[in-house]
């Protein structure tokens, strides 16, 4: 029975990491019209693992913040396999602040195995960059709707995930670290990722049941790449509905609800 469960979860992860799975650069033009990409963090570099910019959703100006893994091998290398450096998080925050200034809602696409663990990333303050986004997103005065496309890996995903509404595509995962990383810590063996994945509760169903996310976006039987239109149509419906609802809230109510959304997360016992 356990083996069947392990297989089923691993099959989902394989779909999440499927080489043909559409990435943000495919999704963005299907949701946002007249997209103009805007580059750079104004301090150090343009992090290519992030795509940020402006466009229109059904006529309404929106800001897009997306992580991008790349499609071809050279592009994947250029995009650092979707693993951002601190300048990526700072670029994202710049886009968010601009969105708030011009009262544009923000659509976020999370798609990262995690923030990059490297020397330059540490020298430029990876921890500080992530922490600062969590801190600043608390008071970005515009609706934020986030989708986990394939992998939402650790703080590197959460750093753009402090949103009013968070959704996961059916076969995506969202977790405290990768199944491989988890296995290497817990079992001292990264090849036991399949076993780890079954313990971690990282599927969209798990996270919905924990109320960490607000809903699951449909995928075709064989995964997102088998029917892109089906998934994108569902995403558009969700964005349209949420923007209508969130748009009715005052700024104070919006931020209060965002705070409360995360405030209630966690499971504790309290002795009398």
């Amino acid at each position: 029975m356990n083996a069947i469960r392990e297989d089923a979860i691993w099959a989902k992860i394989k779909l999440a990491r499927h080489p043909k799975r559409p990435t943000s650069q495919t999704v963005i033009p299907l949701i946002v019209d007249d997209f103009i990409e805007l580059f750079g963090d104004r301090a150090f570099a343009d992090d290519r693992s992030f795509i940020t910019g402006v466009g229109r959703f059904e006529g309404m100006p929106v800001t897009v913040i997306a992580q991008e893994k790349g499609i071809s091998t050279p592009e994947r290398i250029e995009r650092n396999f979707g693993m951002p450096h601190p300048e990526g998080y700072r670029k994202a925050l710049r886009a968010m602040k601009q969105a708030a200034k011009f009262q544009r809602p923000i659509i976020v696409f999370i798609d990262t195995p995690g923030a990059y663990p490297g020397i330059g990333a540490e020298e430029r303050g990876q921890a500080q960059a992530i922490a600062n986004n969590l801190f600043e997103m608390t008071s970005i005065k515009t609706p934020i709707i986030a989708f986990v496309i394939s992998e939402g890996g650790s703080g590197g995903a959460l750093a753009i995930g402090v949103a009013d509404k968070v959704y996961m595509l059916d076969n995506s995962i969202y977790s405290v670290l990768s199944p491989e990383g988890f296995a290497s810590i817990l079992f001292k063996d990264s090849t036991l990722a399949k076993k780890a994945a079954a313990l971690m509760k990282l599927t969209s169903e798990d996270l919905l049941s924990f109320k960490i996310i607000d809903g699951i976006v449909k995928e075709a039987e064989g995964g997102f790449h088998e029917n892109v239109e089906l998934t994108v149509k569902h995403m558009r419906q969700i964005i349209k509905r949420d923007l209508r609802q969130l748009g009715k809230l005052s700024e104070d109510d919006l931020l209060e609800r965002r705070y409360e959304r995360f405030r209630r997360m966690g499971v504790v016992a309290e002795e009398k």
Binding site: A115, Y116, P117, G118, I119, A121, E122, E123, R124, G125, Q126, A127, Q128, I130, A131, N132, L134, F135, E136, T138, S139, S154, G155, L158, A159, G161, V162, Y174, S175, V176, L177, G181, F182, I185, L186, L199, M200, K201, L202, D206, L207, F210, I212, R258, Y259, F262, R263, M265, G266, V267, V268, A269, E270, E271, K272
Partner: protein, 289 residues
């Protein structure tokens, strides 16, 4: 020879398991001497304690548990604990987690890795929190996140400055996604404290990494790193594996973070309390007049 000191030297040379971390050399009852974990010199137990558990030979700062940190930082008898009744559950049903918690509780005589409350530094009242690096590596699960959040919210309401000492390997893996979300929860509470114009001094001690470094620990108005502390996002082992290169000398130390502009100050343990007192006084309401 064959003295206790020799045994301790031999012991410190082998790789430590998490269990070993609880049984520190100083806990061995017959030992009048302690071997420095870094230079291996023999130190009188009494001398080490009087020196705030800093090696008098090489200045190595031994890690402090929560009670020791409170003792060396706050005015004597000033601390009163809050939210002490919160305990962890096993929300994902992770194997061995209940046992690990029970063992850590028995060894540390604490319910969880975070202690928060109200205390005073040179007579100035503060909301004070400390992560105990010996309790499951000071990792942040739901309870640590909840206690930290409640402490920050208490400080915001009571208009108190906040001082938190972090010593943590990061998010607690056994609570999975719930641990990750504590990063958002705690950071959001800190934002509200900050928006209320209140002071937060975050002190980074050995080690401050992962989800704790990438959330509240990096969000102080002032970041003080204790000398020699390991501070960073990813652990050195993970970085080494990823880049397949040796790491530079002194990588991710407190001094490295100072050089790269990531912390305000590096301080020796003995300097921290007077420094906090001075900074608190500078930020007191009416200090401008």
């Amino acid at each position: 020879m064959g003295t206790v000191v020799d045994k301790l030297k031999a012991k410190s040379a082998v790789k430590k398991t998490p269990q070993d971390l609880y049984v520190r050399p100083s806990d061995i009852p017959q030992g009048l001497f302690v071997a420095c974990e870094k230079c291996h010199a023999a130190i009188y137990q009494k001398e080490l304690d009087e020196n705030l558990r800093v090696c008098p030979h090489c200045q190595y700062h031994f890690r402090l548990n929560a009670a020791e940190r409170i003792r060396v930082t706050l005015d004597e008898g000033s601390f009163s604990e809050l939210f002490s009744k919160l305990t962890s559950v096993n929300p994902l049903g992770m194997p061995e987690y209940d046992d690990k918690l029970a063992k850590s509780q028995a060894l540390s005589n604490m319910k969880e890795a975070f202690v928060g409350g109200i205390g005073a530094i040179d007579g100035i009242q503060v909301a004070f929190g400390v992560l105990d690096p010996f309790f499951m590596m000071g990792s942040m699960g739901s309870v640590v996140g909840e206690k930290m959040t409640r402490l920050v919210e208490y400080a915001t309401k009571a208009k108190l400055p906040l001082i938190v000492f972090s010593g943590s390997g990061g998010a607690r893996m056994q609570e999975g996604i719930f641990s990750l979300m504590q990063m958002a929860k705690t950071s959001m509470a800190v934002k509200r404290h900050s928006d209320a114009g209140l002071l937060f001094i975050s002190v980074l001690t050995d080690p401050t990494t992962g989800g704790v470094a990438a959330s509240f620990a990096s969000l102080g108005d002032i970041l003080i790193a204790e000398q020699g502390a390991l501070i960073g996002f990813a652990g050195p082992r993970v970085i080494k594996q990823t880049i397949q290169q040796d790491l530079p000398e002194g990588f991710q130390t407190a001094e490295f973070q100072l050089k790269h502009g990531q912390v305000d100050l590096v301080a020796k343990r003995r300097q921290i309390k007077p420094l906090l007192a001075k900074l608190l006084r500078l930020h007191q309401p009416g200090a401008m007049k």
